[in-house]
C-alpha cells in the first residue's frame, strides 16, 4: 500500500489482501460467509457435484428466510409450491458440510441481513459476503460486505477468498438534521431518485457526515441496504462508539477478553484526512420530505406530497404498469395492501415507529395490512413491548419472520394490480406478485397510508384526531 491518506475501504481491503494482480484486482480473505436457502443451496449443491470441500465451514452461517412460510403456526417446510426442495436441501447440505444453520424454528431465525448484525456475525472491519444483493446492508457496521453471485459464493466457500477488481470510491456526506418524519429510507430514496439507479455503479460508497453520525445503527442498516439500488458495489460507514456498543456481547462477537484488542483496531477504521474520493456528494437532509416511489425502479421516487414527474412520456412502461399519469399526485392514491417487513425496514426500531403511528387507530376498511418482523429476536422483543397487540388491534396481520412478501416466490404474494404501500427496497415489475404495483416508502408512511387507505403524508399524523380508542389496546 502507498503511505498517503487511506480511506475506510482501503484500510479494510489492505488488512485482507492476500495478493494483488497486475490489473489492480485483489485476492481478498473472506472472513465470514452467509447463505440462505434460495441461492446458498444452489452453491452448495454445485460444490458437492464438483467434489469440492468447504475451506472453512466454521466461518459460514446459513438461514432459511426467503421461502419460509410466514403465516402464524407455520410448518417447518415451506408451503410455497416447490419451496420445500430448497429448504430440505439447505438443511441436509448444512449438516453434511458442518455449517451453522438458523432453521425455520430456531429461536433466532430471520432474514439473513437482519440476523447477521443481531448475532454479531457482521462486525467492523470484517469481510463478509452472501449470495444476495442486499448484503451491502452490513457495511453499516463498518464491515466490508457485499452481495455475490452463486459462482462467487462457490469460490468463497471453496477457497475462503474472492478476487475483486479495483473499485472507485464515492463519499456521500449527509449534513444537517433529519426532520422528525423523515428517515434513512427517505434519504436513500432521495439520493437514488436525484442521481439515478446506476449512479454508483463501480463504486464503493462511504456514508459520512453529521446526519450519519446521528443515526442509530438500525437506521444506518436501512441506509446501506439500498446502496445496491444505487448501483454500488457496496456501502460502508466508519464504526463509532455506537457501533462498538451495538456489536458487543452478541453470539459471534469477540469474547470479552478480546474486545479491547478488537476495539483498538476498529478505532483506526476511518478515512484519513486529506483523502480524495473519486466522487463526493453532499446532501443536506434538513428539509427532506418523506419519499414514496411512483414507478418501477427505486429511482422513480418523489416527496410524498409531490407528483409523478411531468416529463415522463405518457406511454412509459412504468406508468402503464403502475396505472398512473404524468403530473398525477401520489398522495391520495388508494392502496389495497400495506406491507411492513424486509431487510430494509423490519427491525425493532422500524416496528416501534410504525406502531407509534398505529396506536389507537385502525387500518382503513378494505386494506389488507401485514407486518413481518425481520427475525425471531425482533419479534420476541416487539411482543415483550406489546407492539404486536398494537399492530393486530389496528388490523395488521402479525406474521412469522422471513422475506415474506418482499419478493414473490410463487407462494404468498399480493394480488394482480393490487396497489401496495411497502417498506421494502424494490418496486420492480412483478417483484411482489405478478402485476402488483409497489410503492416503496418508510414504515411510518406505510403505517399511516394503511390507516388512511391512501398514500398519505405522515407529517399529517399528529394533526389527525384519533378515532375512539380500540378496547383491545392497553
Amino acid at each position: 500500500m502507498t503511505s498517503g491518506p487511506a480511506s475506510l475501504f482501503d484500510k479494510i481491503l489492505a488488512a485482507h489482501t492476500i495478493k494483488r494482480f497486475e490489473d489492480q484486482g485483489t485476492l481478498v480473505l473472506i472472513d465470514r460467509i452467509l447463505l440462505h436457502e434460495r441461492t446458498g443451496s444452489v452453491a452448495l449443491a454445485s460444490l458437492e457435484e464438483d467434489g469440492r470441500a468447504l475451506a472453512a465451514p466454521e466461518t459460514v452461517l446459513a438461514t432459511i428466510d426467503h421461502i419460509a412460510d410466514n403465516r402464524p403456526g407455520r410448518p417447518a417446510l415451506s408451503r410455497m409450491p416447490g419451496g420445500e426442495v430448497f429448504v430440505e436441501a439447505m438443511r441436509q447440505q448444512s449438516q453434511r458440510a458442518g455449517i451453522t444453520l438458523y432453521d425455520v424454528h430456531d429461536r433466532d431465525q430471520g432474514i439473513v441481513h437482519v440476523i447477521a448484525p443481531e448475532q454479531g456475525f457482521a462486525l467492523p472491519g470484517v469481510t463478509i459476503v452472501c449470495p444476495d444483493s442486499h448484503t451491502c446492508s452490513l457495511g453499516a457496521l463498518g464491515a466490508l460486505a457485499w452481495g455475490i453471485g452463486t459462482s462467487e459464493a462457490e469460490h468463497a466457500l471453496a477457497t475462503r477468498t474472492l478476487r475483486i477488481p479495483a473499485y472507485k470510491q464515492m463519499r456521500i456526506v449527509l449534513t444537517g438534521t433529519l426532520p422528525e418524519w423523515s428517515t434513512a429510507k427517505d434519504v436513500i430514496l432521495a439520493l437514488i431518485s436525484r442521481h439515478s439507479a446506476r449512479h454508483a455503479v463501480g463504486h464503493v460508497i462511504e456514508f459520512a457526515g453529521p446526519a450519519v453520525d446521528d443515526m442509530p445503527i438500525e437506521a444506518r442498516l436501512t441506509l446501506c441496504n439500498m446502496a445496491v439500488e444505487f448501483g454500488a458495489f457496496t456501502a460502508m460507514i466508519a464504526p463509532d462508539e455506537k457501533t462498538f456498543d451495538y456489536v458487543e456481547g452478541r453470539t459471534f462477537s469477540p469474547e470479552p477478553a478480546q474486545i479491547a484488542e478488537a476495539r483498538m483496531w476498529w478505532k483506526t477504521l476511518r478515512t484519513d484526512a486529506g483523502y480524495t474520493f473519486d466522487q463526493e456528494i453532499r446532501f443536506d437532509v434538513t428539509n427532506l420530505a418523506p419519499m414514496v416511489s411512483w414507478g418501477t425502479s427505486p429511482e422513480h421516487a418523489v416527496p410524498v406530497d409531490g407528483t409523478v414527474p411531468e416529463d415522463i412520456p405518457d406511454d412509459s412502461r412504468a406508468l402503464d404498469y403502475m396505472a398512473l399519469r404524468p403530473g398525477q399526485p401520489l398522495a391520495g392514491l388508494k392502496v389495497d395492501t400495506a406491507f411492513i417487513g424486509s431487510c430494509t425496514n423490519s427491525r425493532l426500531s422500524d416496528l416501534r415507529r410504525a406502531a407509534g403511528i398505529l396506536r389507537g387507530r385502525r387500518v382503513a376498511p378494505g386494506v389488507k395490512a401485514i407486518c413481518v418482523p425481520g427475525s425471531n429476536a425482533v419479534k420476541r422483543a416487539a411482543e415483550e413491548e406489546g407492539l404486536d397487540r398494537i399492530f393486530t388491534a389496528a388490523g395488521f396481520e402479525w406474521q412469522e419472520p422471513g422475506c415474506a412478501m418482499c419478493f414473490y416466490a410463487g407462494g404468498a404474494s399480493f394480488g394482480e394490480r393490487d396497489r401496495v404501500i411497502s417498506s421494502t427496497n424494490r418496486n420492480f415489475e412483478g417483484r411482489q406478485g405478478p402485476g402488483a404495483r409497489t410503492h416503496i416508502a418508510s414504515p411510518e408512511t406505510v403505517a399511516w397510508s394503511a390507516v388512511q387507505g391512501r398514500i398519505s403524508d405522515v407529517r399529517n399524523w399528529a394533526k389527525t384526531p384519533v378515532r375512539p380508542p380500540d378496547e383491545r389496546v392497553s
Binding site: L123, F252, G435
Partner: protein, 211 residues
C-alpha cells in the same frame, strides 16, 4: 466452465434501461437446486401471457417470440442490464436459451461478474454505439464478437470494447476461477495463520449450544 473466443449470431434488441434479474428470470421460475432447466423461464413474465399462472402461451409482442427470436444468441439492451437481485440464475437462463453475448450501455455489477464466470460475454458500449447497434440489428444484421481482439461488429459497425483482464482471461481460457485461486493455496493458508495472530478476536465461530 466454458470458453469464449469468438461468436457470431442473430441478435435481438430490448431497448429498455434497468432490465432487472427479476425480469430476466422471475423467482417463481427458479424451481430447482440446480443451474439447469431455466431457459424456459427466461423473461417469463414478458414472454408468456399467462406466466403468472405457470402458463406458456407466447406473447406475440415480445421480441423472443418474433421472427427468429428463438435462435438469437446476442442481446442488445439499454443501460444497467441485469440490475437488482444477485441471482446467477439470470445468466444461466440466458445462456441455456442460447445467448452468448450481451451488449449494453452498462450492467448490474453482480450480473456482469456472473457473465464471465459462465461463458457469457458482457460488452459495454457507449449510448451512441448501442443505438447504432440496435438500428443495425433491427435492419437484420448478425453480430460478431471477437474477445481476443475485443471488437464487436455488425453490418458496417465495428466497435472496440474492453473487459477487465481477469474476466477476459477466464473467458478466453474457460478457466475455473476456483482452480486458479487454489493454485495459491499455500499463500492463502499462510495469510490465514498470520491473520489469526493479528485478529484473534475474529476467530470465534462456535455458536453456543443453547442457541
Amino acid at each position: 466452465m466454458s470458453e469464449f473466443r469468438k461468436h457470431k449470431g442473430r441478435a435481438v434488441v430490448m431497448a429498455q434501461d434497468n432490465i432487472s434479474t427479476d425480469q430476466i428470470i422471475p423467482s417463481r421460475e427458479m424451481k430447482r437446486v440446480s443451474k439447469i432447466g431455466l431457459g424456459d423461464g427466461l423473461f417469463a413474465n414478458l414472454r408468456y401471457i399467462d406466466a403468472a399462472k405457470g402458463g406458456r402461451t407466447p406473447d406475440p409482442d415480445f421480441v423472443l417470440n418474433q421472427r427468429d427470436g428463438e435462435s438469437a444468441s446476442v442481446l442488445v439492451a439499454g443501460a444497467n442490464f441485469g440490475c437488482g437481485s444477485s441471482r446467477e440464475h439470470a445468466v444461466w437462463a440466458l445462456k441455456e436459451f442460447g445467448f452468448r453475448v450481451i451488449a449494453a450501455e452498462s450492467f448490474g455489477t453482480i450480473f456482469f461478474n456472473n457473465c464471465a464466470a459462465n461463458g457469457v460475454l458482457p460488452v459495454v458500449l457507449t449510448p451512441e454505439e448501442v443505438s447504432a447497434l440496435m438500428e443495425t440489428v433491427l435492419a437484420g444484421s448478425h453480430v460478431k464478437a471477437d474477445l481476443e481482439a475485443q471488437r464487436l461488429m455488425a453490418g458496417d459497425l465495428d466497435f472496440s470494447f474492453t473487459l477487465p483482464p481477469a474476466q477476459r482471461e477466464m473467458l478466453l481460457k474457460g478457466l475455473s476461477a476456483i482452480d486458479v485461486t487454489l493454485a495459491d493455496k499455500p499463500l492463502i493458508d499462510l495469510f490465514v495463520a498470520q491473520d489469526q495472530k493479528l485478529r484473534g478476536w475474529l476467530y470465534k465461530t462456535e455458536r453456543p449450544s443453547n442457541g
